[in-house]
Structures are given as structure tokens and as C-alpha cells.
Subunit: 233 residues, 3 copies
Amino acid sequence: METAQFTIPLWLDLTAVALGGIQGALFASGFRGERRLDLLGVAIIGILIGLGGGLIRDLLLDVPPASLQNNWYLVTAVAASLLGMLLAGPLRRLNAVIVGLDALVIGMFGAFGTSKALSLGVPPVPAVFVGVAAAVGGGILRDVLMSLPVSIMHVGSLYAVAAGVGCIVLTALHLLGVPLTIAGVVAVAVTTLIRWLAVIFDVSLPEQRMLYRRKVATETSVLPVIRRPESSD
Amino acid sequence: METAQFTIPLWLDLTAVALGGIQGALFASGFRGERRLDLLGVAIIGILIGLGGGLIRDLLLDVPPASLQNNWYLVTAVAASLLGMLLAGPLRRLNAVIVGLDALVIGMFGAFGTSKALSLGVPPVPAVFVGVAAAVGGGILRDVLMSLPVSIMHVGSLYAVAAGVGCIVLTALHLLGVPLTIAGVVAVAVTTLIRWLAVIFDVSLPEQRMLYRRKVATETSVLPVIRRPESSD
Amino acid sequence: METAQFTIPLWLDLTAVALGGIQGALFASGFRGERRLDLLGVAIIGILIGLGGGLIRDLLLDVPPASLQNNWYLVTAVAASLLGMLLAGPLRRLNAVIVGLDALVIGMFGAFGTSKALSLGVPPVPAVFVGVAAAVGGGILRDVLMSLPVSIMHVGSLYAVAAGVGCIVLTALHLLGVPLTIAGVVAVAVTTLIRWLAVIFDVSLPEQRMLYRRKVATETSVLPVIRRPESSD
């Protein structure tokens, strides 16, 4: 196997951590729930999204977590979370940024997870599983810590599916002899594009639609006749 | 130790995965919450119940997860989840099937967890712990991902207790020199029987009783005066 | 490194487990939610608080969990949980005991986590992360299993911060050449003191304030004008 030599370059791994940290902090900053998060809460979510996927990947692979092998992962995740908090004000209405970053981040975490698994000799099917778990795992942890419904369970078909297709493409290219680096770039592009297209055709954020639908449902139950006088839905 | 040679046969492990996958998908298909699960959500729960217990066991034992060592575990779990979805229609009213399968599955996961722990040289008390964690862990992950109250915390005495008694019996027989294979069969039978008897004497599904009670409480809160005209509490 | 020789003495580790078990069971016994916990639920929380921090630490460090290497951890955790249940009656009004114990427990788990990480060669920043995760991890698992809002996300600044400062102090002293034993004692004292002072100046339990505030907020939303006639906020 050529894969024994393959390792994700540190700068690339840290880029994913940074994008995840910014995205997580933006998401958490924009959260308006019954109980708002304090600054530390926002930072925790940023760190979790930045590092959670890699931690889940390494736990599943039974290897020491990459993010604990040097100081840079945590420093990057913390700095990215702080940056995300600062950007949350100016970017508040730019949900597209949150979703766009998110698509890129799940693409990268998925590709890193699957390629690390393959390079450790994990068979194709579980390698895809590790990638998908790494891609969506951070978001699951986020939802659990924020007491939100776990989004991939309800509105996430095209979310987890986007991650899954990317990881399958990577694995297929690898089996066909394509170097992991090239296969990984293709996989990130595939996942990100599927996710972006899904969001564009859905117009709004799946997560927000869900929360919105819930809110509407609550209001609707009080005044259903007034709100929808002529709609037959 | 004779236990160093002991490994769970693949076909038996896959049987537990398949039964777990079917049971998980049946449970998730039957779920009628505020937010229904989509097909992927049902499949995730099936895969989680099929593989979750084994993953938790192997994380606790610090060994590479068995389910990631070959392609069969995930293929089995996915196929079983799809089968569970197909069966959910015809079996909708047969809650007995869900509960019956569940009892068998926790018995098997408990026995596999404890016997694998013992065969790795883990002392008796933590070996029982690993078995119970493997038996109930999948259900905990399911409840967290489905945003349900974690059932073993509230109505689960005889659930976790059934798993615990089975694992203790297995460990005791092992200490008495009984081969793990025989001890395992006895343990599965003990756990399954205790759980079945508990359900039969309770008549209804514990989980459903819990959800029902919650609903009643909500309705009651609308008419507290009528229900408690003289109570001072 | 002198740290290769360093291991936490068993009696000290078991002391932390026992204090955690008592604290967890006291907390869970005092819980009055929509669905009360049964005895097993209280015991599970006790065991979780006693062992959860150490399990998370060892999972992150990719070493076999210390609590599964001999029988004493689980025996201690179970016995401590039972003791906590028995003490819950007489101590019901002594919230100070719960908070006081909790501060000591997070101090100990944080110090053990960071010092074990350092002794395994983990760099300073991730060593602090492991300590904080060990300190607050048990409480996160407790909140998730009890379907409570995860407390460190909302009111926990001084909770996680207290753990963090202790772990940073320990790491700094270690880098300055102070033996881990002395650095650990200082770290426990620092974390416990910060947490105690935070609670004393806040007067009431953060967790309880949160639940209380939620209740008040619900009531307030009905009569906002009466409660804030002149406030412009």
C-alpha cells in the first residue's frame, strides 16, 4: 500500500480546525434560545466544531488524538473561536457564510477521516463510516451540548448524504489507484458542492427551517384560521 | 487462562448486529414525536443500535472497534436497518416484537461485552460494567440522538438490572471454571428471560408508559383547579 | 523527564471517585424534575460522576481506562453512590455540601487529568485541555443522561474557568520544575478556592439559579408590564 506513507499535512489539518472553529462560534453566537450562551459557551462550541470531528475519528480508529499531540490544534481552535465571535456581529445576517463554511468543513473532516482510516488499513466500508462520523460528529456534539434537537436526525438527509457521497467517492478513487491527496481534493469538492446545491435549492438553512417550522407550529396552533385563511397547503 | 483463545465467532456477532439493526429501525419507525425522523434518521438509529454497544465496549477496552475491522458489520447493520423499515409497516402493532428483540439484543451485547472483557484479562467487576455499558449504551445513544429522555434513567430498573444480572451470572460461571461459550449462552438466556418477565408483568412497554405519563401531565396542567379542588399541597 | 515515574496513588484516585460518587448521588437524589429518577438512576449518576471524568481522560489519552484495571474503582463508586443516597435525606437542605464537594471533585479530576497527560508526554496546552475535559466531563454526561440543559454551557463560566485555572497553574509549575505532586496539590486548592469563592459571591447554586431563572422567565412572560413598570433595559 502506498497509503502507509500518507499523512494529512499539519497546515491543512489546522485549516480545517480553524474553519470549524470560526463556523462553530458564528453558529453559537447567532443562537437565540431560551437560555443564551455565555462567551465561554460560544467558545466551547467553536472548539468542539473545530476539534470534535478529529477526536471522534481518532477514537474510532483507536489512535492517540492528533489534536493532543502538539499545542497548535487547541491554540488554533481557541483563536478561531474568538475570531468567529468577533465576526458574529458584522456577519449576523450572512447565514450563507455559516452554511458555506459548514459545507467546506464537513467536506474536509469527511475526507480526512476516510483517508486516515484507509491509510491505517481500515477496509472501505468502515473507512467511509469513519469519515461520515468525523464529518457529522462535531455537529451532533454541538446539538447535544446546546440542548438542540440533533439536526442530522431530522433535516439532515442531504447533510449526512453529502458527507457520505464525498467519502464514498474518495474510497472508490483510492481503490482505483488514485493517490489519496487527489482523491481527497475531489471528495471535499463533491461534498461541498452537494451541500451547497442542497441549500440553494432549499433556499434557507435546514437548521433554521426546522426551528422556524417549530415556532410557526406553536403560533399556528393558537391562530390557525387567521394565519392561513385561504391556504390549503 | 483459557480465555486468551476465546473470540466471539463472526457469524454470532453479526447476528447480534442484525437483530439490533432491525430492532432499532422498528423502534425509530414507530416514533411519533413533534419532529418525525426521515428515512436516514431511522437508518442511523438502526445502525446505532446494531453497532453502538460493540463500539462502546471496544472504546472502554481500548481495543480497535471490531465493527471497523471488516466490511460485514456495517453492511449487516445497514441491511438490517432497511429490513426493519420494511417490517415496520406490517409489524406496527406488534410492540411485543420490538420488546422481545430488544431483550435478546441486550442479552447478547451484555454477554459479548463481559466475555470479551474477561478474555482480555479485565477483572470481574469492571468486566460486568463493560457488559452492562455495551448492553444499554446503544439505547442511551439512541435516546440522546432522538432527543428523548434517556429511558434507563427513569423506567429502566429492570432493563439495566436484567443486563447486569446476566453479566454477573456469566462472570460467576467463568470464575467457577465454566467455559465462556456456555456461560455466555446462560447469560443471554437469563437477561432475556428477566426482561421478558418484567415486561409481561408490567403489561405495557416501559418507554411508552413513560411518554404517556408525560402527555397526561401536560394535559393535567391545563385544569389543575378541577383536578385538585381541595388539595393544598 | 521525571514524569515518567509519576502515577497517581490508588488511594488518592479512589478518594476522588468516592467524593464524586457521593456528590453525584446527592445531586441526583435532590433532583425534582418532571420525571423523578428511580434508585438505579441515582446510582448511575453517582457512578458516572465518580468514574466519568477519569474515563474521558483515558479515552482522550488513548490508554486503557484506569477504572477498569481493578475491582476497586467500581466498588468504591457504587458504595459511594449508596452512601450519597443515604445522606441525601439528612443533607437535603445543605446545598453547600453538594457545591463544596463538587468544587473539590473538579479540582481533583482536573489535576489528575492534567498530571497524567503531562506524565505521558502530552504537550502543555492539550494537557490543560485533558484536565478540563476530565473535570467537567462527568457533569456533562450527567446533564445529558438527566435531560438537563448542559450546565457549563450556560452558567458555567466560573465552573469551567476554575478547572482551567487550576490545570494551567499545575502545568506552569510543572514547566518550572516543580514536582507533579506539589503542583497537583496547589492546582486542587486553586480550583476549589476559585469555585468556592464564585459560589459564595453568587450566594446560590448556579444550577439552581438557572432552573429558577427559567421558571421566573416563564412567569414573567405573562406579566412583563407589571414586573418592570419603569425599566427600559
